[in-house]
């Protein structure tokens, strides 16, 4: 009985579709690796507002789809790397490796008559690594989506669409990052800055 009552406090999970349009991009002639760890591909956001029902948002599978489709359209060659690149597991046949990470997710739905939109924010970080795993640079992608939807008590279709819009916005952000293909290639060719020195515990 108690479980049944608790079950009533969880909304139907938001699961955005994995289908995205084919991007219109000029390919950059680079063999790029793509590494997506388990935390990324299975990311689920558990939203529990103080007064309100718990809302789960499946972010990982659709994020995997949008990053894979976008980057395969952006680079001449895109190889999926199954192991984290490092000194012991150098990514073979690629000039660099991209690793997307989900850092934070926030959602909001209309709560009053004047509120019109379901909203979603997804903060991604896109790391650019050498095949040996050293970070060359990283970009923060603050993706945002909104969708007009039913007021309080409506279905979660508006929220699902907002999450999907946020993922499309992430693709738009990547398009701007890689728009100047020559500058990106020059960055890859430049020497990698040394990592910052580790703080010593035995410092005087």
């Amino acid at each position: 009985m108690a479980l049944a009552l608790l079950g009533g406090c969880t909304a139907k999970p938001v699961v955005p579709s994995n289908e995205f349009p084919k991007p219109v991009l000029r390919k950059i002639p680079v063999a790029m690796g793509l590494y997506m760890d388990d935390a990324f591909v299975s990311y689920v956001h558990h939203d529990q507002p103080a007064p309100g029902v718990q809302q789960d948002v499946s972010v990982g599978p659709a994020s995997r789809a949008i990053f894979s489709e976008f980057l395969s359209a952006q680079f001449a060659t895109l190889l999926t790397v199954t192991q984290a690149p490092g000194a012991q597991s150098v990514a073979p046949g690629v000039q660099a490796v991209l690793q997307p990470i989900v850092q934070d997710v926030q959602i909001a739905s209309p709560k009053a008559e004047k509120d019109q939109f379901h909203e979603a924010w997804i903060k991604y970080r896109l790391r650019l690594l050498t095949p040996q795993g050293q970070e060359i640079t990283a970009w923060d992608l603050a993706a945002y989506g909104k969708q007009r939807g039913a007021k309080v008590g409506g279905t979660n279709s508006g929220l699902t669409a907002a999450v999907r819009e946020a993922m499309r916005d992430a693709a738009a952000g990547m398009a701007l990052i890689f728009r100047d293909g020559n500058a990106f290639r020059a960055r890859l060719a430049a020497p990698v800055p040394p990592p910052p020195p580790q703080a010593s515990a035995a410092a005087p």
Partner: protein, 225 residues
């Protein structure tokens, strides 16, 4: 009840409240642009502002009205998907100069040509309730029900429209429309809504002005037998 009273009742129900509408047009050239066969227009809603967004219903109304004026209209979502990700809120060009810069990319320019879209019509604006008051109360005491009261609300529809020619990468013209009106809901036993259709008036104004800027392609001549 006599027939005249029934007619009076129906007329009262179907009546609409008044809407005041102001439409302005700026043309870049003195005459309208004639479209060629195979070319089409796409109606696009601006979505870059966080707190507001042009209603899909307004874009659909303008599209339907232009189709009625024989202008070939390309579906908005199909065009946004075909151009993905260059018409997302973050990347969509905000001026005809930005459009020209976007079309400098040969891959993007080719995709636009593939769709057959010649004119991009950007709509920015929204319909808002700006004031309201009164109250209507209804009660049910089986087998009867009745309402009593008076309610009103004022709405304003403000839209700005830019028409760009993809072929010449320039602006064809701009249209702005501002329609406002007050709706009333008197209720004496039954409520009788008198709705001011500001969004529909703005839609008619916008579509009429676009129809003056763009001339539909001439119909193909029938072959002589």
């Amino acid at each position: 009840m006599s027939a005249s009273r029934v007619l009076l009742f129906v007329a009262a129900v179907l009546a609409s409240a008044c809407v005041t509408s102001k439409v302005e047009q700026i043309r870049q050239s003195g005459r309208s642009v004639t479209m060629s066969a195979g070319e089409s227009v796409v109606i696009l809603g601006r979505r870059h502002r966080g707190d507001r967004e042009t209603e899909q219903s307004f874009n659909k109304c303008v599209s339907k009205s232009l189709t009625g004026r024989k202008l070939p209209v390309y579906a908005e979502q199909s065009f946004v998907d075909a151009m993905f990700p260059w018409l997302e809120p973050r990347t969509a060009p905000m001026s005809s100069d930005a459009l020209a810069a976007l079309l400098d990319d040969p891959v993007i320019a080719q995709r636009v040509r593939d769709t057959g879209v010649r004119f991009m019509v950007w709509i920015d604006g929204e319909t808002d309730k700006i004031d309201g008051g009164g109250s209507v109360s209804c009660g049910i005491l089986p087998p009867a029900a009745a309402c009593l009261g008076f309610g009103w609300w004022e709405k304003e529809s403000k839209y700005e429209v830019s028409v760009w020619d993809v072929q010449t990468r320039s602006s064809v013209g701009k249209v702005s429309v501002n329609a406002s009106g007050t709706s009333y809901l008197p209720a004496l036993i039954i409520p009788i809504p008198l709705i001011a259709r500001t969004e529909a008036a703005a839609c008619d104004g916008v579509a009429g002005q676009i129809g003056e800027l763009l001339t539909p392609p001439a119909p193909l001549a029938k072959p002589k037998i």
